[in-house]
């Protein structure tokens, strides 16, 4: 039998039917939220079609929820359109018997934090959600992909997805990282190396000793950002780190079923002689703390570097994009990036709002605090935990007290300022050190300037008042 990759194995295990070009693939878990589902449920209703497997569907409210006053419920949300979307979701899940964690429920939060946290995300699964960062769940060795609203409707009606198979790419990261360097830097390094379209048409499997050494939170950050490299899905083969994370979570298998599940999960790995369509190799030891300078996630540079000169880019198209990006970002070619004075800091998003992310940021803040340093006076800094449970855990560890004492705003969970669909957003011209995933023009608010970086780097920037090297803070 031909050697298979992890992706091949998950794909083969979910084949329902094959046609010309497209395959009907079974979907194990469908995560839904308020923004990309109203039109899908309306379509089902118009066609008189039921939801096939409400038990394999889980709903949360995350994209447009405010990050304060959540206990008051959806009906109290001030934004009329957001309120209508939230209430529409409530109606749709109630009519179809779908499990739902409403705003204010301790279990609610960002969909890609909640799935793993509840143990719903498991190795070998196929997972979809109407959100591009569904790639996050690939950290568990699950084939997890973002889909559009028409496909959401298709999955609700059939529990399957019609799809052509992608190619296999492997990114191997060996070596040991320097202190202050972690999963966010690996991800930005990969995007910088292959570009935002580098993974188009591929599923990326991450391998190598630096990946094995990552926690589940780190692997989720890495797989989350895979979509920013153009690949719909990222994968890390499941191992003991994975099993330890899942064990004991609400939806994790229990008793004899646990052993059966682990045996099943262990079958999901890439065969030694499997062939990838493309291989990329990076050395963790060569990766510095990274930050973006432009308006595409591929615009990465080391924190101790200088802003690139647009004339140094290869094609006219790239030169024009770089010039436009520098103009938008208010930066000058050749200037040290650490000169960029910031107005806002955002620690949160499906990329970096889990407990380990908050611990990493809090460690930097606490050390500075003990040296008498607070958030710089001109900076507004906020921390938005990824879920109610992350928030509770952080509070039980006293992390909220550290953040608040240093001058951070401690918020309630949600997507928050990652995409500015809710009240949290940048004003025109404001510069933000952000742990989120997209530095697109206007992403965090019209005219807002986003620098992507790790939670520890964001914390350091909050204290310094400008982008700064976290290695000076640890």
């Amino acid at each position: 039998m031909a050697a298979k990759t992890l992706y091949d194995k998950i794909w083969d295990a979910h084949l329902v039917a094959e046609g010309d070009g497209e395959t009907i693939l079974y979907i194990d878990l469908h995560l839904i939220h308020e923004v990309t589902t109203p039109q899908a449920f309306a379509g089902l209703r118009a066609a008189g079609r039921p939801v096939r497997r409400p038990d394999r569907t889980l709903a949360v409210a995350d994209h447009n929820v405010p990050t304060e006053g959540q206990a008051l419920g959806a009906a109290a949300v001030a934004d009329e359109e957001a309120r209508l979307q939230l209430l529409t979701l409530e109606r749709n899940v109630a009519e179809n018997g779908i499990e739902y964690f409403p705003m204010g429920d301790l279990r609610n939060g960002i969909v890609h934090v909640v799935g793993p946290e509840q143990g719903r995300t498991q190795p070998g699964m196929t997972i979809v959600c109407g959100d591009s960062h569904t790639s996050t769940h690939g950290a568990f060795g699950a084939l997890a992909q973002g889909i559009g609203t028409s496909e959401v409707e298709h999955v609700l009606a059939t529990q399957t997805l019609r799809q052509a198979k992608s190619k296999n790419m492997r990114v191997t990261i060996d070596g040991t990282p320097a202190p202050g360097v972690g999963a966010k830097d690996y991800a930005l390094a990969v995007i910088g190396a292959i570009g935002t379209a580098g993974g188009t048409g591929h599923v990326i499997e991450y391998a190598g000793e630096a990946i094995r050494a990552l926690s589940m939170e780190g692997r989720m950050t890495l797989c989350n950002l895979t979509i920013e490299a153009g690949a719909r899905a990222g994968l890390v083969a499941p191992d003991e780190t994975t099993f330890d994370y899942i064990r004991g979570r609400p939806a994790a298998p229990k008793g004899a079923a646990w052993d059966m599940a682990v045996a099943h999960w262990k079958s999901f790995f890439t065969d030694a002689d499997a062939v990838f369509d493309r291989e990329v190799v990076l050395d963790a030891a060569q990766i510095a703390p990274l930050v973006t300078w432009g308006t595409s996630p591929e615009d990465v540079m080391p924190i101790d570097g200088r802003v690139p000169d647009p004339t140094s880019f290869a094609t006219p198209d790239k030169r024009a994009s770089a010039e436009r990006a520098l103009d938008y970002m208010g930066l000058v070619a050749g200037q040290p990036i650490t000169e960029a004075r910031i107005d806002r800091v955002f620690i949160g998003s499906c990329t970096n709002s889990r407990i380990e992310d908050l611990r990493a940021a809090a460690a930097v803040v606490q050390k500075a605090f003990l040296e008498g340093r607070l958030v710089a006076p001109h900076v507004r800094a906020m921390v938005v935990p990824g879920s109610g449970l992350v928030k509770e855990q952080a509070e039980s560890e006293g992390l909220d007290a550290i953040f608040k004492a240093a001058g951070f705003d401690w918020r309630e969970p949600g997507c928050s300022m990652c995409l500015g669909m809710n009240p949290d957003r940048l004003a025109p011209g404001e510069r933000c050190a952000s742990t989120s995933n997209r530095n697109f023009e206007g992403r965090q608010g019209r005219g807002g300037r986003t620098h992507l970086l790790s939670p520890a780097m964001a914390a350091a920037a909050a204290i310094a008042g400008h982008l700064t090297d976290v290695r000076d803070f640890i």
């Binding site: 039917a17 010309d20 496909e151 379209a197 188009t200 995409l419 992403r443």
Partner: protein, 203 residues
Amino acid sequence: MKPFTRIDAKAAPLALSNIDTDQIIPKQFLKTVDRIGLSKGLFYDFRFDEAGTEKPDFVLNQPAYKDAGVLIAGDNFGCGSSREHAPWALLDFGISCVISTSFADIFYNNCFQNGLLPVVLPAEAVEDLMAQARGGNHVISVDLAAQTVTAPDGRIYGFEIDPSRKHKMLNGLDAIGETLQKAPDIDVYESARALDTPWLERA
């Protein structure tokens, strides 16, 4: 879904790479429960300034391109967010075909669900079409059945497309209806799967 067969329409050049779906339709227009009326948000930050006044320089605001039916864009069009509001907004504006050297995967898929044809052509072809679209005569023809794009000067470029997607697009077929015809296969799969992974059965 409205079928796509052939169009003869004005083509608007938008020579930028990595146009993401946040730029195609910004977040404030996603707070809707409808698929219609989204053209008001299309390329909003390109088309309007902060006061909501039209920016005359932007290509779709120029009289020659206001009624464009085809967009010619730089590499990696539609990257970023999975929002299907992007193809909905383009269609609502009257654009039913986008030509580029490459598209992001999710956007590309979303187009086919809605009768918006994404055409991939080599860089030289896109550059030629872009240059011609900037000229006085910028009407091009896109023929899905023949898989060709005819430039204003009559030059013909062929393009590739997946046969099953082409078939659905030409006939405006409903993917859900087609998959539901395979319901017995889904039933069989689910029964077998329940034995393999019983811990996933929650019902």
